[in-house]
């Protein structure tokens, strides 16, 4: 441990203060972008659980956002309060995650990736074609932002703080999950699957649970997106957006707790910074991603580990090495 617990807590505290002060004095647009960053951090956190902790690639996170977004939208348009509508979306995503993951994980590890790829596009098609329910190509618009009586969230800044509270709550729940026996089982699974199984960890059940919880986080992010943009349409939840969220997790550092926040910041804020380059920013951006992956494949938070290895290489027992097999 290079960073002591005390300094780690200080860092978290500072980040929280920075997050609270961030929108002060900024225009609506910057506040909007910051809120978007928080929302995608939640989605990325969910995917991080699936990918970083349980080692499964899910390419459907955007479709879970869609499920959360559309269910929340339909319910809030029918008059429900957001706080009641959101859990419906969460539960729906969790259940769908279980149903989707169960047969896919039964077969062999990597097939979840393909099944989620197909699922994402299927969800897009249903949203686009069933316009009696979803508004089809035109989507749904005019969703109200949550109103808590004394605290209304119509203004961009107020909605930002509301989202910040939700994000912190979600992060705390995630922290509890990771610290719990389940969470330790995930880590064991990731480090050395054979050893974990020999110690009695039910690989399949744990992985399925991770996927379902990760999907529920996607649903939460979707419920927030509905209120942020007050307009949703199928194109915002297509496969390319799932790939974006995957990018956030990998760039930030899969398996690191704060990886999603860093990754989401890079994926959402870097294009803003590069916007002055006009048409070239996507080219620069994708080139940077490739370079980053070549030098720091564990993501940005993995830079610490990379530097440590260079200057203080650790010595490892051969049979404890990752992927050690009894062949």
């Amino acid at each position: 441990m290079t960073i002591t617990t005390w300094s780690r807590h200080l860092l978290i505290g500072l980040m929280l203060v920075a997050a609270i002060l961030a929108p002060v004095g900024q225009g609506n647009y910057i506040t909007y972008v910051l809120t978007s960053w928080l929302i995608f951090s939640i989605a990325a956190m969910g995917l991080n659980l699936t990918l970083g902790y349980a080692g499964q690639v899910s390419l459907a996170q955007a479709s879970f956002m869609a499920i959360g977004a559309y269910s929340t939208a339909l319910l809030t348009l029918a008059g429900w309060h957001w706080m009641l509508a959101m859990p419906v979306g969460l539960v729906l995503c969790f259940v769908v995650g279980l149903v989707l993951g169960y047969p896919a994980l039964r077969v062999q590890g990597h097939f979840l990736a393909f099944v989620t790829l197909a699922f994402n596009t299927l969800v897009f098609l249903v949203l686009r074609n069933e316009d009696w329910l979803t508004g089809g190509n035109y989507g749904l618009m005019g969703m109200p932002r949550p109103d808590f009586g004394i605290f209304k969230t119509m203004r961009q800044v107020d909605f930002y703080y509301f989202t910040l509270v939700v994000t912190v709550a979600a992060a705390l729940v995630m922290w509890a999950i990771v610290r719990s026996p389940w969470g330790r089982a995930f880590k064991a699974l990731r480090e050395n699957p054979i050893r974990a199984e020999s110690l009695g960890v039910d690989t399949r059940r744990i992985t399925l649970l991770a996927f379902a919880i990760g999907s529920a986080y996607g649903g939460l992010a979707g419920a927030l997106v509905t209120s942020l943009v007050q307009f949703i349409e199928p194109g915002s939840f297509s496969l390319v957006h799932s790939l974006r969220i995957l990018l956030m997790v990998v760039v930030g550092g899969a398996g690191f707790f704060f990886g999603p926040f860093v990754g989401a910041a890079v994926v959402i804020l870097l294009p803003e910074v590069l916007r002055f380059t006009e048409g070239y920013y996507l080219i620069i951006y994708s080139a940077l991603v490739i370079v980053m992956l070549a030098f720091v494949p564990n993501g940005l938070l993995g830079i610490g580990a990379v530097l440590r290895e260079r200057f203080w290489p650790s010595r490892q027992r051969a049979d404890m090495a990752q992927g050690a097999k009894l062949k």
Partner: protein
């Protein structure tokens, strides 16, 4: 009846295009452990090399095509391996997947910025005359695409099974460590895999772009369909890619004509899920480990 024949034959023609893209994808996956999410863009780029040769350098058609082939081998084969796959593969498959995704975006946006956002017409390398077969119309191009796909599968299978180099590539695919011990130049075999993929992508590009029209965004759907075709057909057999491609092409057309046009895009996806759940090795795949 002639309607059925029409859509069936057109489906075979489209399917053979998907197969061409899927074959290289399978090869790379098996021989070099590289899941190439930029495969769709790999099939778009050579066409633009040709257009640059024609309109910027003012070369005659065959010179432009030759130039495009050489550039494809260099950029999509050698440079791809050296600059992207080489450094990132040791870090794990997921990082490489993301890197190829980013590469796809890089290629796509570069075409858009440096050449143009609009679709461009592309000269046909093969005659396009229509032929009438029992009331259905197919073009020479369609038949050529089908024959070339079949030919490639046969040639590649022969190469991999009958020649020494081909068998070395298979050995590298199955167990690189042992192959190295036995004297196979593993690095070179892997390079060959990349070069073959680049050549296949270039060939696919020259054949399909007259029909698809050259546009920077063509790669998106093409990449996903090729991916699905490879898995559905069986990703450890080259002929699996052909079978998968043809199947998807035909079923897509039949669905659109007789069942539903709005959900036609769902078909390959449902097929993918069904295959994974029921027969994960694919239709023609074998359930043993890695072969090519």
């Amino acid at each position: 009846m002639s309607q059925f024949l029409q859509v069936f034959l057109s489906g075979l023609a489209t399917g053979s295009i998907y197969a061409l893209v899927a074959i290289g994808f399978t090869l790379l996956w098996q021989a070099a452990q590289t899941v190439n999410f930029a495969q769709g863009e790999f099939v778009v780029v050579p066409a633009f090399f040709v257009l640059v040769g024609l309109h910027v350098l003012h070369l005659p058609l065959w010179a432009a095509v030759a130039l495009a082939l050489v550039l494809s081998l260099l950029v999509l084969g050698y440079l791809f391996k050296k600059l992207v796959v080489g450094p990132i593969l040791p870090a794990g498959g997921i990082s490489l997947i993301i890197a190829t995704m980013a590469l796809g975006i890089l290629l796509k946006e570069s075409i858009k910025e440096f050449y143009g956002a609009e679709a461009q017409p592309f000269p046909a390398l093969v005659p396009q005359d229509p032929l009438n077969l029992f009331g259905a119309v197919v073009s020479m191009q369609d038949i050529m695409n089908l024959l070339i796909s079949l030919g490639i599968v046969v040639l590649l299978t022969q190469f991999l099974n009958r020649t020494r180099t081909g068998r070395c590539m298979q050995a590298t695919a199955q167990n690189p460590a042992v192959a190295e011990i036995l004297g196979v130049d593993v690095k070179r075999m892997v390079l060959y895999a990349f070069l073959v993929n680049a050549a296949l992508a270039a060939l696919a590009s020259f054949l399909i772009t007259p029909v698809y029209l050259a546009k920077f965004s063509n790669g998106e759907t093409l990449g996903v369909i090729a991916f699905i075709a490879a898995i559905v057909g069986g990703f450890n057999q080259i002929r699996g890619a052909l079978a998968g491609g043809l199947l998807i092409g035909v079923l897509d057309n039949l669905t659109a004509t007789y069942v539903t046009a709005e959900y036609r895009a769902a078909l390959p996806l449902v097929l993918l899920i069904a295959i994974i759940l029921l027969r994960p090795q694919g239709l023609l795949g074998t359930s043993e480990g890695r072969t090519v």
